[in-house]
């Protein structure tokens, strides 16, 4: 009895060893960087964490295929290093000594990646499944790009400034015109004293007035 038990156990162990080894078919390598993710709050990777990992993978498989046949014992871990990295494989309990196809495992992990990450307080980068690419979340994009809004604000300020300056320029111009026309009107109202048909002011201002009758030759007069 005991011998039979020992025999089955060893067969199972050998079978497991064959199923789970580096680069085995349908096996995946996992790399975990706890210290990078958590720093001082890092926990140590021990057998309990491994148990949790097996549980999470089993959970993922159950959710994906919706059949509750995957047990924790179906998930095999091997080659755990100090890094922390290891290989795992999921066996199929319905068929003897076979592994679940890699594509199924991959799809299951992909679907539940978030849950698995959160269980270990890690992220896609610190809990790496080496052959499984993660779907990156798209960046949050607002409906109107932010830069257009800022641009609109800047442009409004500039246009307001230009309009203000132009209007003040026009107003100054109008005021100057009005003042000059007022001054002209004022001058016209004042009585202009005339002498010989020439206003006195003009005679005062100009240095003299060349009488065309007497000037026959330009050269006889010194230039003004």
């Amino acid at each position: 009895m005991l011998r039979a038990l020992l025999l089955t156990l060893s067969v199972v162990a050998i079978a497991h060893a064959e199923l789970c080894k580096p680069d085995a078919q349908n096996a995946f390598k996992v790399r975990i960087s706890i210290k990078t993710a958590l720093g001082d709050n890092a926990y140590a990777w021990d057998a309990n964490e491994e148990y949790l990992f097996k549980a999470m993978v089993a959970f993922a498989m159950r959710r994906y295929s919706s059949k509750s046949t995957t047990q924790i014992s179906n998930v095999l871990l091997c080659n755990v290093t100090d890094r922390v990295s290891f290989w795992f494989v999921v066996t199929d309990s319905s068929k003897n000594v076979t592994t679940v196809p890699g594509s199924e495992v991959e799809a299951a992990i992909r679907m539940n990646r978030n849950r698995i990450n959160n269980a270990f307080l890690l992220s896609d980068k610190t809990l790496q499944f080496l052959k499984i690419t993660s779907t990156l979340s798209p960046p949050v994009e607002p409906s109107t790009p932010v830069w257009l809004i800022v641009f609109g604000v800047v442009l409004c300020l500039i246009v307001a400034g230009i309009v203000f300056l132009i209007i003040s320029g026009i107003r100054k111009h109008k005021k100057k015109n009005k003042e000059s026309t007022e001054r002209e009107n004022l001058e016209e109202k004042v009585e202009v004293t005339l002498e010989n048909g020439i206003p006195c002011e003009a005679l005062d201002i100009k240095a003299g007035h060349v009488n065309g009758v007497f000037a026959a030759d330009d050269e006889r007069f010194t230039s003004l």
Binding site: V146, F151, H173
Partner: protein, 620 residues
């Protein structure tokens, strides 16, 4: 040129605003030619330690910059005219200098505002969280990052793809980028706003655009010095590597960069100085401006280099960390067994025990000096290197906003000088009727410039801006400056000019000015010009293109300019330079025609042209 309003503003302020406009050219635009950042960029690009670059810079300043600055200021102040009128007064044959200056100002204002457009684009994008140049966008099926972005960096991708949408070749023009057109329109609107009534509004705007950058620089200085790796950057800045002085390119760059830094040869200085009172001490002003400019350069270089040192250190740490992760993953060692400190000992140990595995990992060699030496060409310093550094700082949005506002105001104050250099000669030549309001003229100038500058918003726009920068703003300025000095010293005669300056400042010109004006400056300019031409002719001009399909991507691909582009380069250089002989020829023809037609003579006799202007105290 003097109008009541303008005089009072400038006199009350003690000429401060207009002289603040002078240490401009401080945008970190392309090429080795812009102000303080240009000094540093030059050094970084030519793989020189900046400590050595300061030597040719100061020599150029002493023998080229300050003498020419004094010359232009004295000229403008004495003749009280803009550049075209001033040179026509000196000698009618030299009127071409003013026209050439005008032409250079036009060419430069066209492309310079496009650089401001880029700054504005980055500014309005700095309000997002996270900053758009810090993350790569995802590819179509969301399994990874966009390929072009992944292979180069997110910062490069945002600059080359999202901002410029650059084409792989200058011959391919691509399409007009609508977002750049919007920003360009906004930039020209701002320029219009500030120059709407000429120097009246410009004078007010300069207060803000000149003082604000100093504030931001100080803030960056404090922040920069607290960053890790800042000391490495500063040591790099101040250690002279004298072997680099053997490269003639360094001297050339220093000489041409002085022009841009002090805005010599643009005609803007003469125009600004014509607003000064006649008895102003222009000699003191010239020296003050040059010193303020250089001090600003040095002051600005400290935060810039501390940030660069920080960036280099972070890149070095990243390189080390990546190597460490690779090794840990390969050998399945526990985390944090290899740290940056014991990296070298681990590497040597592993190399001796498992050399094939280490070789298989293809580890990059991480060298801090190499990261410090890394150069970026083109508009790299501001838009690639600095933006990368800003992402690494805490509170990056605020730093980005501050940084780009500072760049924008620096560039804007440069634009004022350019636009003034375009505006004033047009007013002088009375091409527009006096009754037309100034607002209309400046509006028309801004509108025309905007329409022409649209071609810089094409896919190949930044290649064209590099061309304009390299050719339109270097050689013509040398030629103009050379003829300016020759014209004043040998045609107007230096003794006459000395008397004029003495009348203005109240003391005799000392030996330094005499020697530099007579011999050293023209000689230096001639040497620089011939060196430039020789270096250009040695090999066909080439450029580096951003081509995602290139094998060496993300390195830029080296390409030669096609012949039609080379022709345009020559045209850009020739156009301003041709103005000089053409104007002289034009005047000669006019003289000959006048001498043949005697009825036209009397009008010349009573005019003041060609008469001894020492007797008139010109005031217009």
């Amino acid at each position: 040129m003097d109008e009541e309003v303008e005089c009072s503003i400038l006199q009350c302020s003690g000429h401060l605003p207009q002289y603040f406009a002078l240490p401009r050219r401080q945008s970190k635009a392309s090429g080795c030619q812009k102000g303080w950042a240009g000094t540093l960029r030059c050094a970084v690009e030519s793989d020189t330690a900046t400590g050595a670059f300061l030597i040719p810079y100061f020599i150029a300043l002493l023998f080229e910059g300050i003498p020419l600055l004094h010359l232009e200021l004295a000229l403008g102040q004495y003749l009280r005219k803009g550049s075209i009128g001033a040179w026509n007064t000196i000698s009618a044959y030299l009127g071409g200098i003013g026209v050439a200056s005008w032409m250079v100002s036009v060419l430069i204002s066209l492309y310079y505002n496009t650089v401001l457009t880029w700054v504005m684009w980055y500014f309005i994008n700095s309000f997002q969280e996270p900053l758009p140049w810090s993350v790569c966008p995802l590819n179509e099926n969301r399994t990874g990052f966009n390929e072009e972005c992944y292979e180069s960096t997110a910062v490069n991708y945002f600059w080359y793809r999202k901002t410029l949408n650059i084409t792989p070749d200058i011959a391919e023009s691509g399409r007009l980028q609508w977002w750049l057109i919007l920003c360009l329109a906004a930039c020209w609107a701002i320029v219009y706003l500030c120059t709407i009534r000429g120097i009246e509004t410009t004078g007010k705007a300069i207060y803000v655009t000149a003082i604000f950058p100093y504030l931001v620089l100080t803030i960056f200085l404090i922040q920069g010095l607290t960053l890790p790796g800042a000391t490495e950057g500063l040591i790099y800045l101040f250690t002279p590597n004298l072997s680099t002085l053997k490269n003639p390119r360094v001297w050339l760059d220093a000489a041409t960069q002085i022009f841009f830094s002090l805005s010599l040869g643009f005609g803007g200085l003469i125009a600004f100085a014509s607003y000064n009172p006649t008895k102003n001490d222009c000699e003191k002003d010239a020296v003050t401006v040059a010193i303020v400019n250089s001090m600003t350069s040095l002051y600005a270089s400290i935060p810039v280099f501390s940030v660069l040192g920080f960036k280099a250190t972070t890149a070095y740490w990243d390189c080390l960390d990546r190597n460490i992760i690779n090794i840990i993953n390969e050998f399945d060692l526990p985390e944090e067994s290899i740290m940056r400190q014991n990296y070298t000992s681990w590497i040597s140990f592993l190399n001796s025990s498992y050399p094939e595995k280490i070789a298989g990992l293809k580890l990059k060699s991480c060298d801090l000096q190499e990261f410090l030496d890394q150069s970026v060409s083109g508009t790299g310093l501001a838009f690639i290197v600095f933006t990368q550094a800003i992402i690494l700082m805490p509170g990056s949005q605020a730093w980005a906003i501050l940084f780009f506002i500072m760049l924008f105001s620096l560039g804007l104050s440069s634009m004022f000088g350019n636009i003034e250099g375009v505006f004033t000669p047009l007013l002088e030549l009375q091409i527009v009727p006096k009754s037309a309001p100034k607002e209309l003229l400046s509006g028309i100038i801004c509108l025309i410039s905007f329409l022409i500058a649209l071609c810089f918003t094409l896919g190949s726009g930044s290649y064209w801006i590099d061309i304009f920068d390299r050719y339109a703003s270097s050689v013509p300025l040398l030629v103009i400056a050379f003829f300016e000095v020759i014209g004043v010293v040998y045609i107007y005669k230096i003794n006459r000019f000395s008397k004029d300056v003495e009348w203005m400042t109240g003391r005799k010109l000392n030996l330094y000015w005499q020697i530099t004006w007579r011999f050293i400056s023209p000689l230096l300019l001639l040497i620089v010009f011939t060196a430039f031409v020789t270096l250009q002719l040695q090999k066909p001009p080439s450029y580096t293109a951003w081509n995602p399909k290139y094998e060496g991507f993300p390195m830029k691909e080296e390409k030669v300019y096609p012949p039609w582009v080379q022709a345009i380069c020559v045209l850009l250089v020739a156009l301003p330079c041709m103005c000089l002989p053409l104007a002289a020829l034009f005047h000669l023809v006019k003289q000959k025609r006048r001498s043949k037609d005697p009825s036209l003579v009397p009008s010349e006799v009573f005019s003041c042209q060609g008469a001894n202007i020492n007797f008139s105290h010109p005031k217009e």
